[in-house]
């Protein structure tokens, strides 16, 4: 079974981002970039499926700038077999990315596509669901467990009240939640080997996909700051403040 994994290059999760002075976006100059944490979990899940003998080939795809090749090389070092970069310097919306991924799905015909549930930059949580809609596939979003059996996949999902399990006919889309697995680190020999694995570069034009958008970001601002309050000395003082000053209990 062929598994396609989509990954995104984003600002590293340890970086505290700052809004640009002209309110056009956040300042990403000289900021550390990494693979989106949820995408790391997606790569790990695919590698585990291959180790179990369920997956036979892992293709990793990213939509983004030339530099996203770094994240694709990371995925190759973690165990993906080959990579595809759909190169675009533009800031694409989730729908545009989903359309590009749909074109890659048409080309590659995977049985399973695994994506992170959301990217930690735009926090959209849309792409996997949109790709499922465009492909006409079932979707197991926010997955905490994935089990393939025959021509279907059982996905346990993290939902508001607890957990839910659905069964999807293959091919299907899975999006990962935090507790699906703990991603491994790439070993040095594997990082060296990854440099020799194939990486194909495509363009939206070559895939025949329009990336036009119905959304426009007007401005980006810093959130209202919350200032530190006071330190109380005892539990009794805390209770007194909550009752008489804040009046919340």
């Amino acid at each position: 079974m062929k598994v396609l994994v989509a990954v995104k290059r984003v600002v590293d999760y340890n970086v505290k981002v700052r809004v640009k002075a002209d309110n056009s976006g956040v300042d990403l100059a000289n900021v550390k970039m990494s693979m989106n944490p949820f995408c790391e979990i997606a790569v790990e899940e695919a590698v585990r499926l291959k180790e179990k003998g369920v997956a036979t080939e892992i293709v990793v795809v990213s939509v983004g700038p030339t530099t996203a090749q770094e994240q694709l090389r990371t995925a190759l070092a973690l165990g993906a077999d080959r990579a595809i970069l759909v190169e675009s310097a533009e800031d694409l919306t989730s729908l545009a990315v989903a359309k590009l991924l749909k074109a890659v799905v048409d080309k590659e015909q995977p049985q399973l596509v695994i994506l992170g549930k959301q990217a930690i930059d735009s926090d959209n949580n849309q792409t996997g669901q949109m790709l499922a809609a465009l492909s006409g596939y079932g979707q197991g979003t926010f997955a905490s467990k994935v089990e393939i059996s025959g021509d279907s996949v059982a996905v346990t999902r993290e939902i508001d009240g607890g957990a839910q399990t659905v069964s999807l006919k293959l091919p299907a889309i899975v999006t990962t939640d935090l507790r699906l697995n703990e991603p491994r680190y790439a070993s040095l020999p594997n990082i060296m080997k990854a440099k020799k694995k194939p990486l194909e570069v495509l363009t939206p034009d070559a895939l025949g996909v329009s990336t036009a958008s119905t959304n426009k970001t007007v401005k980006v601002e810093a959130p209202a700051a919350r200032s530190a309050g006071i330190k109380v000395k005892s539990v009794a003082e805390l209770v007194e403040k909550l009752k008489n000053e804040a009046k919340v209990i």
């Binding site: 981002v17 839910q164 935090l178 970001t217 810093a222 309050g229 109380v232 804040a246």
Partner: protein, 309 residues
């Protein structure tokens, strides 16, 4: 301009998040219709008809919609939604699961988790875990939007008298099925709707120690949450997680106990009205957002707090 709001429910009860979503619709302005897609959810449709400001309720009753499977519900919403100016759903796990599928079917971009309505086509939403706020404008014929409940005060659950209309449309894609679910049972208020939330972090040391928080919460009528660190360590189940990737809460009072205050956690609670932090590490970042900080051993402070409130 007519707005379609997707009701959040479990076939029995209308979830409170629907009232916040209707509030966002009211801010946009125009007629508000509510769609109840479910199975045997007549009581939910009746409850939706009583929501203040709702002029019509569409009740799509079909076995295929019983478990909110997006493969079946999204085509229904897309079919009905074509005639509307906006489609709104709460940014719950159902809303997040279904609505992007609707947007793709309608070939429009979605706007996720809005926290304010600037005008009928312009909205604010947090990005980068709430470290920046984007103002986004949509020129889509149908604007597809999820609503962060904490951004909007709920409308009244009563006072309306909308007509309930049955919708015959049945969509069963036949590519997915519901297997089962395990829902946490609790007598405490729901996290996202509670007026007071008591949350524990890694400082709780183990799951058993959460009993101290439960005791305090029961005295205050509060819900109990947790940081990602506490969930990852296996102290408590994932549905208690407050943060960027967990639940977003904004209660009147948030008491953070043994929580250091990682960015991801702050993203889920920093809009709370009053924040209390109890931590023995006085350098913990949580104190930078807390209105009242207490540097103390939580195992001494929490029992004492429980006695005094």
């Amino acid at each position: 301009m007519t707005i379609l709001v997707i009701a959040e429910h479990d076939n029995k009860v209308l979830a409170p998040a629907t009232l916040n979503t209707v509030a966002a619709a009211a801010k946009i302005g125009g007629d508000i219709h509510v769609l109840v897609a479910g199975h045997g959810a007549g009581a939910v449709a009746e409850a939706a008809a009583k929501i203040a400001g709702v002029s019509k309720v569409l009740n799509a009753d079909n076995a295929a919609y019983a478990h909110q499977l997006p493969e079946n519900v999204a085509p229904l919403v897309a079919e009905l939604g074509k005639g509307y100016s906006h489609i709104l759903a709460a940014a719950t796990s159902n809303g997040k699961n279904i609505l992007p599928r609707v947007a793709a079917a309608l070939d429009v971009d979605q706007i996720s988790e809005i926290i304010s309505v600037e005008s009928a086509d312009t909205f604010k939403r947090p990005i980068y875990a709430g470290n920046a706020i984007a103002t986004v404008q949509s020129n889509a014929a149908v604007k597809v939007i999820t609503v962060r409940a904490t951004g909007f005060d709920p409308v009244a659950a009563t006072g309306g008298s909308a007509a309930v209309e049955a919708v015959a449309a049945a969509h069963d894609a036949g590519i997915s099925s519901f297997v089962g679910e395990e829902l946490a049972k609790s007598d405490r208020p729901e996290l996202t709707a509670a007026k007071i939330v008591v949350s524990g972090g890694r400082g709780m040391q183990n799951g058993d120690n959460f009993k101290h928080l439960y005791a305090l919460a029961d005295k205050l009528g509060a819900a109990v949450g947790a940081s990602r660190a506490a969930v990852d360590a296996g102290f408590v189940p994932n549905d208690m997680q407050v943060g960027q990737t967990g639940k977003i809460v904004a209660p009147q009072l948030y008491i953070a106990v043994g929580i250091s205050g990682a960015i991801q956690h702050l993203a889920g609670m920093k809009d709370s009205k009053v924040i209390v932090a109890i931590n023995k590490d006085e350098e913990a970042p949580i104190f930078q957002v807390a209105d009242y900080g207490l540097v103390a051993d939580l195992f001494e402070a929490i029992p004492e707090l429980e006695k005094l409130v």
